[in-house]
Symmetry: C2
Subunit: 344 residues, 2 copies
Amino acid sequence: QSLKIGLIPADGIGKEVIPAARKVLEAIGSDIPKPEFVPLLAGWEVFVRSGTALPEETVEALRECDGALFGAVSSPSRRVTGYSSPIVALRKELDLYANVRPVISVAANPEEKPAVDLVVVRENTECLYVKQEQLVPTENGKEARATRLITERASRRIGKMAFEIALGRPRKQVTIIHKSNVLSVTDGLFRETIRQIPFDSNGRYDSVKLEEQIVDSAVYRLFREPQIYDVMVAPNLYGDIISDAAAALVGSLGLVPSVNAGDKFVMGEPVHGSAPDIEGKGIANPIAAIRSAALMLRHLGYTAPADRIDRAVDQVIREGQVLTPDLGGKSSTNDVLDAVLKKL
Amino acid sequence: QSLKIGLIPADGIGKEVIPAARKVLEAIGSDIPKPEFVPLLAGWEVFVRSGTALPEETVEALRECDGALFGAVSSPSRRVTGYSSPIVALRKELDLYANVRPVISVAANPEEKPAVDLVVVRENTECLYVKQEQLVPTENGKEARATRLITERASRRIGKMAFEIALGRPRKQVTIIHKSNVLSVTDGLFRETIRQIPFDSNGRYDSVKLEEQIVDSAVYRLFREPQIYDVMVAPNLYGDIISDAAAALVGSLGLVPSVNAGDKFVMGEPVHGSAPDIEGKGIANPIAAIRSAALMLRHLGYTAPADRIDRAVDQVIREGQVLTPDLGGKSSTNDVLDAVLKKL
Ligand SMILES: CC(C)[C@H](C(=O)O)[C@@H](O)C(=O)O
Ligand SMILES: CC(C)[C@H](C(=O)O)[C@@H](O)C(=O)O
């Protein structure tokens, strides 16, 4: 038995952090089936070379894999005909309907409670990300319209995912993020569908506390009192913003992992971007990618090795000796990788 | 000559902070024409009594006023047929196309540079706030769609407003907030229209530095390094979220003022909501409303009295003796009002 993992470094520092995550998976040993890696292409660079940001081969190969790790994509600085984000397309193609982003601060000592310990569960397939846009020239200039789609089906499955994740956490609390005071129909549907879930679940979620917050004040309160949140469930765009906001609370985007999860496939993806400003300098923080690999393992059912990786990373952060510049350190990507490997 | 000001306390603590702002305007004296106040209705409470959240009389009366102050509205906790936010409707009815929200931290001593000193210039009339939504039942459950509208005309006028505001500030920098890596048509139009402005302005904006940020990373960087921002210009929904995020940086939503400004009318509005949890307790922070009154005066051309009010408020905050609970104090709305009046 082997574990087939697609590797899509894509652009910029993606090409530096995904190899680091790969090394960690290789070092895990017999806790997981021997991983077989499948290198795959996607992103801006392959678009420039070949005219497509997501080659058909990549999608086909991923369908044969157990999981995948995705790096980061660069965006062109102006609108380019035919280019659109491969990560958004991949999420849709493989029906990876949930983007799960745990944001946790590493406490100074292992016994302490972390100041921030929440999970953003972001719907991944609809909202404005359906990318149905039109441009119409009128007498008064151009007018552009985009469609925001919210369905009961997608809201229910993302809601269920949030409830399931909450069940596995000590606080067992789900907060619905919405803006139904303005978007009473679309966000109204999102909110009411999720509020309905406990009533349709034979008591399975009786222990889960359900809260809600309007998105603007949710972001405000996230800064002021992050401890009020446990699991936050949000439509696609709010989830995008909120997970970056939450990442700011723990010191660096370079720490925050995510997985794009469907019912049959899971793809790890660091929350940070391709960071063209530091590309090629060898100083990108590999921790988000390494934690994304751990999170991928967790979703594949390999809890113990996932815990091992997370504990190793926590120790490196806590000791504070080997850190990349985004965390105020002077170490390189490889230094941090080596430090993590030593703690494994 | 008199200054006719519509007063719309609306719901919750709106009814506590708008009277405080009124008292400050009354105390200004001969720096402004004697204000004449016109009390007007809007909001959830009037909806419950009369079936409309924005009585036609209110809109008509405002058309006769020089400016207005709006409190805050409560939202029903479930979707209610026929109810929709009066503030959103007012902005549209009176074509108050810009929501201007200065967020500034009060430095410990008056000579110091404030840590946060930025202005969010939010487009106020379109984006998802056009509220074109449909609900369609399908075989797989309900589907809801909303339209996001971005026009060249509205993008240009909000962009110009941002450039004008930047011209009056020492740093003279405008940052466009968008998500054109996903919404290449709508946000692409917003971005490209604003980038075009300097080229069409006969050198007027040559001294302004133009930057841009993707909305998710803009929020991240707002938390990590707020000093990179001067004037942020954003489509409606991003602007809504960003101004709340910025407010979190300065200690309390209760400090942040705004105006809804058109070419012919200006309406002050504290950024905070109706705060049902503290309604009627007499402890709402009146500072956002008082500063909104000052900002309204500023937009009406009364710079000196606006400065006087802002300086009085800064002194009260700096001394830290008379603060409401949201700032860690124990004082009442009236205590803070009295303290400000004394410093005027
Ligand atoms: C790169 C971009 C399309 C993407 C998104 O908006 O989903 C990114 O911000 C993310 O959060 O994964
Ligand atoms: C009350 C609500 C409709 C409003 C908005 O979203 O514009 C509020 O959040 C604001 O920012 O003024």
